[in-house]
Amino acid sequence: MGLVKYILRRLFTIFVSLIAVIIITYILMWIAPGEFFNIAQFQASAGKVATLTPEQLQVLIKGFEEKYGLNVPLWKQILNYLKDAFRFKFGPSFSNPNEPIEVQIARRFPVTLTLAILSMTLAVIVGIPLGIIAALKRNTWIDYISMFFSMIGSIIPAYTIGVIMVIIFSVYLRVLPTSGWETPKQMIMPVICVALGPMAVIARFMRSSLLDVLNQDYIRTAYSKGGTDRAVIIRHALRNSLIPIVTIIGPQLAFLFTGTVWIENLFRVPGLGQLFVNAASMRDYPLLVTSTFILSLSVMLMNLLVDIIYAFLDPRIKYE
């Protein structure tokens, strides 16, 4: 019951936070240099050149503003947006008037979700053992090699690794296709590229977390009670050292929803990243607000999920 109450309370906080995020985003766009909201005038500027009377120009601008909901004061625009956003209706975007934003998102979201989950799964499967081995074999060549590889994942941009992989596996060895997102073979390289960053972070966190736990009194107690290495590490150390890992996995996963644009472009993966990054560069404010909304919602939901998982990992944690 405590958990249900806790979730409901957190959902309410998310709701309020999202409203705040949207208001701040709107205000930032309003005050940003470069005339975010002047597109109606830009569109109508051709009318000024042509033989358009001011009345006709006014009607023309009005039509455009109505289409994009710009015909009301800013506070009302925000209110209208919020009303629609919580029903997942986002209207048209400047840069793509062909279809509503929610349709574009609905098409791309499953792709991004698949990429994010596969990549994070790979990152966890490889990153955690890598960190454990490094911690258990601290200051040995195994530790150094593990950390060297995790360092590579952090230092070299995923895009560069992607290009190298394409040249090796697609051009020379011809064992994998260069790009695409239909067959499992096409997914291998993008998933690895996206996984490298989180994998490195997880491995390093796992190593330091496990080292930290291994120095705790209760581990010493467990050993003094006659526990074997295997029993102490698996039963006592690992479970506790996983808590910080869970903390970082949540935000990392949320970041993957939008932070994979380079990989998407490189491997022609039709995900959300391309859509959202273009929104900023093209000053497409309906899409920009929506991307902020989706990203914020993802981060908040991930954090909630992480907090719920805490309880299963550490029974001392109570939801109040």
């Binding site: 240099p33 470069g34 005339e35 005038q41 569109q43 500027s45 051709a46 009318g47 000024k48 050149v49 042509a50 033989t51 358009l52 009377t53 001011p54 009345e55 006709q56 120009l57 006014q58 009607v59 023309l60 039509g63 455009f64 109505e66 289409k67 840069s95 793509n96 008037p97 062909n98 279809e99 574009q104 098409r107 791309r108 290009v163 394409v166 040249i167 697609s170 051009v171 011809r174 296709p177 260069t178 790009s179 695409g180 997102w181 998407e264 472009n265 490189l266 491997f267 022609r268 993966v269 039709p270 995900g271 391309q274 859509l275 900023a280 560069s281 093209m282 000053r283």
Partner: protein, 647 residues
């Protein structure tokens, strides 16, 4: 376990199937090409699909055919039009259509399709139609119809019969054929649009009249086109075209996943040339519909009023060295808006690379050895720009001028520094500019250099005032008042003063074509008078205020025009007169005199050409008929109906 008999039957069936394909020569010819990411298939939006609509999935009355000697590598040919005639004043165009053209569902393509489509584009239902990118802006009553003030039936487009289309224009256009080649010149299929106005354009629903039909589309990934079975007309032998958006083009080509790939940088270019196989499949062409260079920022620092300073800077750049060392041979030096070998470029004088002369000019400008000149700013976006770094280095080395490079966010850069009328926040300095032709319309021969006349070549004080007037123009929409005659008094006085100024301009302007443009109805003072009359008849305060505001805008607009005209340099006025002469004649004649307009604009040194980029690509040797798109958005490939894949 399958019985032997069943296995034999299956084997025979498979063999028959395979053999039948070989015997009948039914092996599908598939071509994969790189393409711009396409966010939809509605042809009239200024997005990647507008290039696809030009001859691949849609066709209009006219289209492009390959012509290596033609501007943009194309020539304009009739496609659905069979013949045409035009009135003496170039305002009424009548087209006879071919009778054999069909939509992909088998319906005939008729003049009524064009009439309905053009009216659909013009209707207020599409308030965000980028009218500047299409021919409709010139059609009689287009703007009144678009604004909803006039009924659709009044639009100057009419099907005289099933195969005769008449287009009446508001102003004479000599280049309607050229304009009708672009995406907004194509018809769309009425029945399918009306059946599903939101989704008619999606693969599976879309009915097209071009040689290929889209059957699948994933934005960010690819699009698949197959032969339109009902297409009548010239077409290559390719059955299926896969357009791939993004990815590593050259590597996809090397892996056999693309039949052509653009070369994107010097490293790829060198790699291709060093590879025995790729070097044989290498092609290049010059993007002569663009010019690349720099322009002065559109701020208000009076430094830029000094022509000798502008000239000195333009002459102090070693363009040969830039193209060789920085651009690695992927560009040609360009010191005029059109290159040598082009009918316009051949008649133009280039800006010489002459350091001594540049130094002398700088001295005459009041800055000997660059002394006394403040540090200028070169605005860029997206990180480092080796071309800008080279230019800045040349100015430092050859003239002793300090220029710092300032990187700004892309939206801000394009909207506030490169393409706005004025940039009040910009410091004295420059931005990069790649100025293209959007299509083959005659005005595009100016390659955007007419911005020199519109926004640069009058004194800083006047430019500043004009910017203020733009702001006043917008501010009028929020002004309170206009309820009493007293509110109109000042406006009427201003109207009369402006009228006197306007009359002086019209009476003294020597160029007839410019005079005609200025006096084309509805005239600004007629609009003002009409608004005043409407104000008198208005019943509510809201209406009264609105008419008063609109009248205020009319006057502000006119004040801006007079300020501009009266402060233009004589060279710019002369250039503008030649511009009118150029755009008011057929394309072939316009090319012969365009240099008279371009040369004086270039000689103001506000917008300075530096290099001409090359398009470079590798191509499957078996693939023929690949057309390069050289206009804005280019380089890329388009008009796929000429593609042929040799066995």
């Amino acid at each position: 376990m399958l019985s032997k008999k069943v296995l034999i039957v299956l084997l025979v069936l498979v063999s028959i199937f395979l053999l039948s394909g070989i015997v009948n020569g039914q092996k599908e010819r598939v071509v994969s090409l790189p393409y711009w990411d396409t966010p939809g298939l509605i042809p009239y939006y200024w997005q990647a699909q507008h290039i696809l609509a030009q001859g691949t999935i849609f066709e209009g009355l006219f289209g492009y055919a390959p012509d290596p000697k033609g501007l943009g590598g194309v020539k304009v040919v009739p496609v659905i039009a069979q013949s045409y005639k035009v009135s003496k004043d170039y305002k009424v165009w009548t087209f006879k259509l071919r009778k054999d053209k069909k939509w992909s569902n088998g319906d005939p393509v008729t003049a009524k399709d064009f009439e309905w489509s053009f009216k659909y584009y013009a209707s207020p239902k599409i308030p965000d139609l980028p009218a500047w990118a299409g021919p409709h802006q010139f059609i009689e009553n287009f703007w009144a119809v678009k604004s909803g003030a006039m009924d659709l039936d009044k639009l100057g487009v009419k099907a005289l019969d099933d195969y005769t289309l008449e287009i009446r224009l508001a102003t004479p256009r000599y280049d309607m054929k050229e304009w009708l080649c672009v995406a907004q010149g194509v018809p769309i299929h009425r029945k399918s649009v009306e059946a599903d106005p939101q989704n008619w354009w999606r693969p599976g629903k879309i009915v097209v009249n071009g040689p290929y039909v889209p059957v699948s589309w994933t934005p960010g990934k690819d699009m698949v086109l197959v032969k339109n079975p009902n297409y009548v007309g010239e077409r290559g032998n390719v059955d299926r075209i896969v357009l791939k958006f993004g990815g590593l083009g050259l590597q996809q080509y090397q892996a056999g996943e693309l039949d052509a790939a653009m070369i994107g940088n010097v490293a790829e270019y060198r790699f291709v040339l060093s590879d025995p196989k790729l070097s044989k499949e290498f092609h290049e062409d010059v993007m002569d519909c663009f010019w690349n260079g720099y322009q002065w920022s559109r701020g208000f620092d009076p430094i830029m009023d000094n022509i000798k300073l502008r000239q000195a800077l333009a002459m102090a750049i070693d363009r040969e060295k830039l193209c060789k060392e920085v651009l690695g041979g992927r560009a040609l030096p360009l010191n005029k808006y059109w290159p040598d070998g082009n009918p316009i470029g051949d008649k133009m004088k280039g800006i010489p690379f002459d350091v001594k002369k540049a130094q002398k000019l700088l001295e005459e400008a009041g800055y000997p050895g660059g002394k006394g000149l403040k540090t200028l700013v070169f605005y860029i976006t997206g990180g480092g720009d080796p071309v800008v770094e080279f230019i800045v280095d040349q100015w430092k080395k050859n003239l002793g001028i300090n220029v710092i490079i300032e990187n700004v966010e892309s939206g801000l850069y394009w909207n506030s520094y490169v393409w706005p009328n004025f940039s009040p926040d910009a410091k004295a300095g420059f931005t990069v500019i790649g100025a293209p032709m959007n299509n083959l319309e005659i005005g595009a021969l100016m390659k955007n250099s007419d911005h020199t006349v519109w926004f640069y070549d009058f004194p800083t004080s006047a430019r500043k005032r004009r910017h203020e007037l733009y702001q006043e123009y917008d501010a009028w929409l929020r002004k309170e008042g206009g309820l009493t005659e007293a509110d109109w008094k000042t406006l009427i006085e201003k109207r009369n003063t402006l009228y006197a100024g306007f009359k002086r301009i019209v009476d003294n302007e020597p160029e007839k074509l410019w005079r005609e443009e200025l006096t084309r109805p509805p005239l600004w003072y007629e609009q003002f008078d009409e608004l005043y009359e409407k104000w008198k008849a208005a019943k509510t305060n809201e209406e009264k205020t609105n008419y008063w505001r609109l009248a205020g805008r009319v006057l502000t607009d006119q004040e801006g025009f007079q300020l501009w005209y009266n402060n233009l340099s004589s060279q710019s006025k002369q250039a503008y007169r030649w511009r009118y002469k150029t755009i008011n004649r057929p394309f072939s004649d316009a090319v012969k005199i365009a240099h008279y307009a371009l040369q004086p604009m270039q000689d103001r040194y506000y917008m300075v050409p530096v290099y001409l980029a090359k398009a470079q690509w590798v191509k499957n040797p078996k693939l023929e008929g690949l057309m390069l798109y050289k206009f804005s958005w280019g380089p890329g490939f388009f008009n796929f109906k000429y593609l042929n894949l040799k066995d």
